[in-house]
């Protein structure tokens, strides 16, 4: 027998290489290992993703959810199979819309939409972006929902909207301020120029001349006040304003202020009353004296400006950790709508107010900026038509 035929014979009777009966097992084993590895990879990826993933059937019954979804919606692995997508959706959801989206996805049209989900335990609403696709699960067509937590984004959106509103409001206020400030500067400037012109008249009596000069001085002083205010606020805003702390005898400052405003109040028919604790004649506050005075001046100046009768009381009381100052008037008061904004720049009560009363609207914001710089706080209690009381507290720092 030839060698070749001998080889054939041995192979046919099944003793050669590759002569085993067919077996699917090695290949199946390889495939099973491959599948297991790829399943593990997939699970690792699914559970590493920072979006929540739900696999659910066409009735919404949850079949699988990833780690992130378990954490965010507080669903344990043991309980998810009793839950549906409705259990993690806001009660006011439009389910008809949702079912339509699912139907489309099953038909191959995937969809990305915004949805209000809720935590299964706390019922906290979680705004989300949902991306829906269909897949096969145990031989059935089901849906994969990839859910992105939009809470942060919603927060940013709201902040952005607020910031935009504020910027628009600021812009509007700035324009109003500019118009106002032009008016405020022009009025005394007209006075100065007008009366300077009158001074040139040849046969001007001495009394008149003195009168004109006084008017020019008043106008100049008013302009200086405006310019000082502007410079102060701009210094505060640019961070160039420094604080100079020193021991300050409070009653001395109170007397000074009382004397300063007494004539003005009197000329307007207002009673100015200073209230200080009688047993604390030598109260010393370690603070910036100039700024303290500026705060009180701004507040009392406003009180006089907006009051037409009655009394203006100011003073302080000693609290445990601080000195609480107050300025109380019987003026026009501040409306509820405006009271929260009263310390912001350029705000001057209502439009009507700004037309009737001169001023730049910087006084209260300077006062607040100074109170902040001195580590205190300022607030107001007011009733429209009955008057306002401004309070501010400064810390009584005893380590001087």
């Amino acid at each position: 027998m030839s060698e070749e035929w001998k080889k054939y014979r041995d192979k046919i009777i099944g003793l050669g290489e590759g002569s085993s009966r067919k077996s699917y097992y090695p290949e199946l084993q390889d495939k099973i290992e491959e599948l297991e590895a790829s399943r593990n990879n997939l699970l690792t990826i699914i559970n590493s993703i920072s979006d929540s993933i739900f696999i659910h059937d066409q009735t919404g019954k949850i079949l699988l959810l990833n780690k992130r979804a378990q954490e965010l919606y507080q669903i344990s692995e043991e309980e998810f199979d009793s839950l549906t997508i409705m259990d993690v959706s806001s009660k006011i959801s439009d389910y008809t819309l949702l079912f339509n989206i699912w139907q489309d996805a099953i038909n191959g049209i995937s969809c990305v939409f915004e949805w209000t989900s809720v935590c299964a335990k706390t019922l906290e609403e979680i705004p989300a972006q949902v991306s829906i696709n269909s897949t096969i699960w145990n031989g059935e067509k089901v849906l994969v929902a990839v859910v992105r937590d939009f809470r942060e984004r919603k927060k940013y959106e709201e902040e952005l909207i607020t910031a935009r509103k504020k910027a628009e409001e600021n812009d509007r206020l700035k324009s109003a301020f500019l118009a106002n400030i032009s008016h405020e500067i022009r009025t005394p400037m007209n006075g100065i120029l007008g009366f300077a012109e009158l001074l040139k008249l040849p046969d001007l009596s001495g009394d008149r001349m003195m009168n004109y000069i006084q008017i020019i001085e008043t106008c100049g002083a008013r302009m200086l006040t405006i310019i000082n205010d502007l410079m102060d606020i701009s210094k505060v805003e640019s961070g160039q304003m420094s604080v100079f702390l020193q021991n300050t005898l409070l009653n001395v400052q109170m007397d000074y202020i009382f004397n300063f405003f007494y004539p003005e109040a009197k000329s307007k028919g207002l009673e100015l009353i200073k209230i200080t604790p009688p047993w604390a004649k030598t109260t010393v506050l370690y603070t910036d004296k100039e700024k303290l005075i500026a705060i009180l001046v701004n507040l009392i100046k406003n009180s006089i400006k907006y009051s037409h009768q009655g009394t203006i009381k100011f003073g302080y009381t000693i609290k445990e950790q601080c000195i609480e100052f107050f300025v109380k008037d019987t003026g026009i008061g501040i409306s509820k709508e405006k009271i929260d904004q009263i310390f912001e720049r350029f705000i001057r009560g209502d439009h009507e107010v700004s037309v009737r009363y001169e001023g730049t609207g910087l006084g209260l914001s300077i006062a607040k900026a100074y109170v902040d710089m001195l580590g205190g706080k300022i607030w107001v209690v007011s009733e429209l038509g009955a008057g306002s009381t401004f309070y501010f507290q400064l810390p009584s720092n005893k380590d001087q």
């Binding site: 035929w5 014979r9 046919i12 009777i13 099944g14 002569s19 009966r21 067919k22």
Partner: protein, 391 residues
Amino acid sequence: MKTGSELIQLELRKFVAPEYIFGIKARLSAGNFCRQLGGKKVLLVTDSGLIKTPWINEVEESIVKAGCNFVLFSSISPNPRDYEVMEGVDYYKQNKCNIILAIGGGSVLDAAKGIGIVSTNHLHISAFEGVDKIERPMPPLICIPTTGGTAADVSQFAIINNYGERYKMAIISKSVVPDVALIDPEILTSMNPFLTACTGIDALSHAFEAYVSNASSPVTDLYALEAIRLIHVNLLNSYRHPEDIQSRGKIMLASLYAGLAFSNASLGCVHALAHSLGGYFDLPHGECNAILLPHVVDFNFNSASDRYSHIAKSLNLPISGLSKSQIRCALTDYLKSLNHSLGIYSSLSDKQVKSVDIPILSTKAIKDPCNATNPKPPVRRDLEVIYSEAM
């Protein structure tokens, strides 16, 4: 008969067979097996003749009942052609099948094997000609034989006609042993007498060749001799009384035994010669075997006289006291007269074979791997002589 004290062969051997179900209504478990083997979409392979029988409908119903789907592929001619196999593969792939159920004679079963091989190995069917050429297992294959002879339902052989070069390619591999054979004698009742005769003689040739094969073994011997005995006693009756279910059952069993024998011991020159002849002239395989078997026995006799004597005894031929050459004559005479009683009178010349064809036929035949296990290793000239004698 053996006494039990003879020396036996202890050479390393292996025996391969599918899971097989034998008995009436075995066909009806087709769907069940499809499901058990993981079938989702079944390629149901058969031929145009069988579609008219009730068997196909029954099998289809059992597939559906088992929860599987199926598609039917029946473009297979006798002596299945390479291009038919390739068409079947396309059909298998187009329909995303994952299992093959073949119901038919040797042609259908071999074509189904071819489809299975190509569908997982992705080469032309001719790439697998020869022994152990198949690297990847084919899809699960369930076979329901409809003829009592081919035994393709249990064998590691698939014979496909290389249509361009007009010869039959022998594909031999453990990979083509089906997963399940459902052997149902009832199905044989749809065979006509000529087919009964041809396939019966095919089974007889399987048993003869396996028994005298140089690769025979005690296990295959057992099956081969029992097959010969069953055919000898029952084939004529089955031919004359097609509805006799007992006869059909015995022939079916004989075919199974012969299949188990030849699948594991291989064949010899009868099949080498028949593959070449049947491929070239597109003749029925069983008829070729019937014509050639007596002449090959004559050629081989001296190389395996003891074995042939055992066969003669199994056939109850009165050989005691006869010389070897007398036994040879008795055996060849028996085969020729069996052919005649089955209505097979032809010689090769009756089949339009001319003497000028013989060199071509023998050139193709000598390349057939079946020669490897013939008890007497032939040369081409030997095959020419056998063809000439069969003219």
